[in-house]
Symmetry: C2
């Protein structure tokens, strides 16, 4: 806010200046009183400057009794996981009434460091959706893989000067907090001393760990999967972000906890959601509808999506339909059904009756260099053999981030060949940030892969290249193609590229339109059905999480096979007790 804007707003409020727009005959959903108000809304310069009938404006709209709710807020999202640019994301999100998101650019931060954060700030400007940024707290996520960047407290500190930075993003590194690691302390203190919010990541946290997190100043959690977890965290003072994304779905588990006495401590978030899923099925809006169907007072459900997250993140001018609040409005035909008719951002019409009215102009973005810096790959590097007569296997567990560690006997020094009948495939992770060209090898069981190869540069959390295949030629082809398109997801089979999605922004996001992304994802899904045999899980996602070494039991990074319980890397033919 600057002086000219404040003066212009006050001139609107005092009637000295003509307003831009008056919305009359609406029913305002008042998140403060919990009542419905029958007042006209005067808007100027994108802000509500008055309620009442005494204003004049250049335009007037008769809402004919429609309800007016504040724009919705997604309290935790990784935009990169949508696969789309912030601009395309804005189109999809505003369709569903979402006008503000609290984003954590953790993925691009792992690839590009501060350049990635700056890119996300630049590419989220001047869109009809406000992107508040949390600063990624754990880059790299672990020491067991080669990330593209390191974000120290010193790297993050200058970002607090940016007006759209709302705090420190999800702390997932419990050991660093518990052991009071110096740089982690510095990150926590910088956020607190700026009076900003610190997000947690409570996956697997015990009741005692929750005490540690809260004492450290961590204020939110979006990883509750059970009622028991959520109840403990609520009582300890965490805001609970109820998560319902494309993969993790916790709404049904947590919503029974919410009632009149505690709802102010709950918000809604997606965490990770695909652009087509968001566009077609909604997210926060759908959670509001489901909350109402779960017998939550409609105005309380709306508060959970508006005032509550605004308060949690200190956004003093968001989350209500009242003077001094941004004119981010969702106009509804009915309250109980929360059926969205119109969406306005800063007083501008964005969507009405599912028609997009906002003119998304092309904005100039910082150019990002190619981030796919692979070493020279020789097909011979894909050879796997054992000198011990044993081979370690990663066994996937469908629809889980967990894996099992298995071992099998194999003839010494004979080249391993993946066989569909054994339900085995080769897997490789190749360092792609141009740091050391490391290559980790493994064998994976349980994908029901029949032929071909799949490769992707979405590989949590360091986003190296992960490729899985039944033959070396298709593996090599898929990897080469990824390099050519600057990152993405590729399926190769029989020496041909069968489908692909270009993720040319940091190997994570596509510069294409949401329609094109959706189309290519559909082609990838179709192609996957010809190389995988009737699987009931998403092969791309499962592959992208096989590289996350902090989750049990056996995972693979560019540094090799990481065994969680052993707490170390193991070689592919090392013999160790299998539980």
């Amino acid at each position: 806010m600057n002086k000219e804007r404040l003066q212009s707003l006050i001139d609107g409020a005092s009637g000295k200046a003509i307003c831009d727009l008056i919305l009359k005959n609406g029913k305002i959903i008042d998140v403060f009183s919990g009542e419905i108000l029958h007042e006209s809304i005067a808007i100027k310069d994108g802000m509500i400057v008055g309620l009442g009938n005494q204003y004049k404006a250049n335009a007037e709209i008769d809402l004919r009794g429609a309800y007016v709710a504040p724009g919705l807020i997604d309290s935790h999202i990784h935009i990169e996981s949508t696969l789309a640019t912030p601009k395309e994301f804005s189109k999809a999100a505003t369709k569903h009434g979402i006008t503000t998101v609290i984003m954590d650019p953790h993925e691009i931060g792992n690839v590009l460091g501060t350049e990635g954060l700056s890119y996300m700030l630049a590419s989220t400007k001047n869109l009809p959706l406000d992107f508040q940024m949390m600063l990624p707290s754990c880059v790299p996520a672990t020491q067991h893989e080669t990330s593209g960047a390191v974000l120290s407290s010193e790297d993050l500190a200058p970002f607090y000067r940016h007006e759209r930075v709302s705090g420190l993003a999800e702390i997932m590194d419990l050991p660093s907090v518990r052991e009071t690691n110096d740089d982690m302390m510095k990150k926590l203190l910088d956020a607190q001393n700026h009076n900003k919010t610190i997000d947690g990541h409570g996956s697997g946290l015990s009741f005692m760990d929750n005490n540690i997190y809260r004492t450290a100043g961590i204020r939110t959690d979006h990883e509750c999967t059970t009622l028991e977890e959520a109840r403990d965290r609520l009582q300890k003072g965490f805001y609970i972000h109820i998560r319902e994304g494309s993969v993790a779905k916790n709404f049904d588990a947590i919503i029974p906890l919410v009632n009149k006495n505690n709802h102010r401590r709950f918000t809604f978030c997606t965490d990770d959601i695909y652009i087509d899923d968001l566009y077609n099925h909604g997210s926060i809006d759908e959670m509001v509808r489901r909350a109402i169907r779960n017998n939550i007072d409609p105005i309380d459900a709306i508060r959970m999506a508006t005032l509550n997250p605004a308060e949690c993140y200190g956004l003093q001018r968001k989350g209500a339909v009242a003077p001094g609040y941004e004119a981010d409005l969702v106009i509804l035909n009915h309250l109980e059904e929360f059926e969205i008719r119109t969406v306005c951002k800063s007083g501008n019409l964005v969507w009405e009756e599912n028609v997009l009215y906002y003119d998304f102009k092309d904005t100039e973005l910082p150019t990002l260099a190619n981030t796919i810096k692979l070493p020279k790959i020789n097909i011979d590097q894909f050879k796997i053999a054992t000198s011990t007569g044993s081979l370690n296997l990663i066994e996937v567990i469908p629809n889980s981030l967990l894996t099992n560690h298995l071992a099998m006997n194999y003839e010494r020094h004979k080249e391993f060949k993946a066989e569909a009948s054994d339900n085995l495939a080769k897997i490789f992770v190749i360092e792609r940030h141009g740091n050391n060209g490391a290559l980790g090898k493994g064998i994976v069981k349980g994908f029901h892969m029949m032929r071909g190869a799949v490769a992707t540069t979405i590989a949590h959390d360091s986003h190296n290249l992960v490729a899985m295949g039944m033959n070396d030629a298709d593996l090599h082809l898929a990897i080469k193609r990824i390099e050519e398109i600057g990152g993405g997801i590729v399926i190769a089979d029989g020496g041909e590229i069968k489908a692909e999605l270009k993720l040319d922004i940091a190997g994570l996001m596509s510069s294409e339109t949401l329609e094109k992304i959706s189309e290519n994802m559909n082609k990838l899904n179709e192609a996957s059905r010809s190389i995988f045999h009737e699987i009931d899980f998403n092969p791309f996602l499962t592959l992208s999480f096989l590289t996350l070494p902090v989750i049990p039991e056996l995972k693979i990074t560019d540094q090799g096979l990481y065994h969680m319980t052993e707490g170390r890397f193991i070689s592919i033919d090392e013999i160790l007790p299998v539980k």
Copy 2:
């Protein structure tokens, strides 16, 4: 918060270090869930570091089923109005469970400017009560009197660096906001750009004025006197601080508005309360009790005194009994009666069973120079006469800040003499900041003064010296005595000082103990009964507000008689239409 403290706290939370204290067998009032928890509370370094039974500590207290509530917060108070130092105030306030106050040093700011603010920060350190400071926004309050200081935006800005500064204090200057005065805009922007809270002062604000205030970013109001005012301000997004002080009492008028759906937007405050009133009758604790008696859910009533003000002022570690929150605790025998047994601040015992346990050490305070810089007063200056045959009168309205303007005929050039039978007294305001030595003269009707004189250096808002009397000798004596004692309240009669309260700190606060202040106030009250004839209002307070020129109709400052409707000063014998 610094690194060593954060590390030590986390070591407590993780069990690596022994805690200081465990409170077991208590019933925790959980302001988040609205439920009662049966958990042990582990405290280290003044902070709650864990809930649960897994902690070890150097001391353990068995609460035998008592309830544990968070320490109470007074959301708006002028410490100067208590007449006591922050140290004496702390004794009285903690007795009633108040462990945090949001203070506005408006009075001392008017006398001493930034020196006054620095004094209040220094004198509120290391006490068992947290004083968060709001920066006085309107010093001087008007141009119609001579204040001791001016506080511009430039003067205030550096104070935002202080960790106990929570925002900008009550904006009472509506015209400057409405007319978007440059320096007022700067003050508003500085607070907002630091993400701090801005308090309002909505006395007499219309519905449209409320739009202006909210648009300007003003977030709270403590001046609601009617349900209608409060409802409008609630709906427009103001936090409503329900006020019940020694003079203004709005609890009964506002409490019927509070319910399950809106209570999160309400807090309790005193604004102005005398130290003996606070000590003997309580304040926020009594409001909690009264709210419960008004059928507000006891936990909601407690939230209004704890979590709500903490959220309103961005105090992330206050307002709850949970890990990461300060160990400011009120221990209750019963919940419904809110009967306080024990008060702890930062884990230290302050009061138990009405016995003070905290050792208030003498702290070194900045020395304040004498602020009573009166001109040389000659008794002849008290002469009043008329050249027109008419004299203007201020008529007091009992128990109101408002006055009437009257006029009476009087013989030309004859010296006016105050007569008890006419219910008239002389009144003088003398500039006491050493700026210009101005003296304003007037006649006041309605005090039922019989003899003697009374003088005080509490004279809102510039706190010049105001003296009222029936004869010039006693007036002169009282004023001289004020000068001798460095400010205060004095009653003189028949050439003798009958009673006095020394207010040697800026002419506003006494360096005496609360018991001594109370004793002297009692003596003043007694002496007042011998010079005023059976009045049913507080003569000292009424006198202190006769100098506030922004309130109708006729007031007096060091510059003379100010007529509100005329919008200008009038001379004592000017003839103008009396309505």
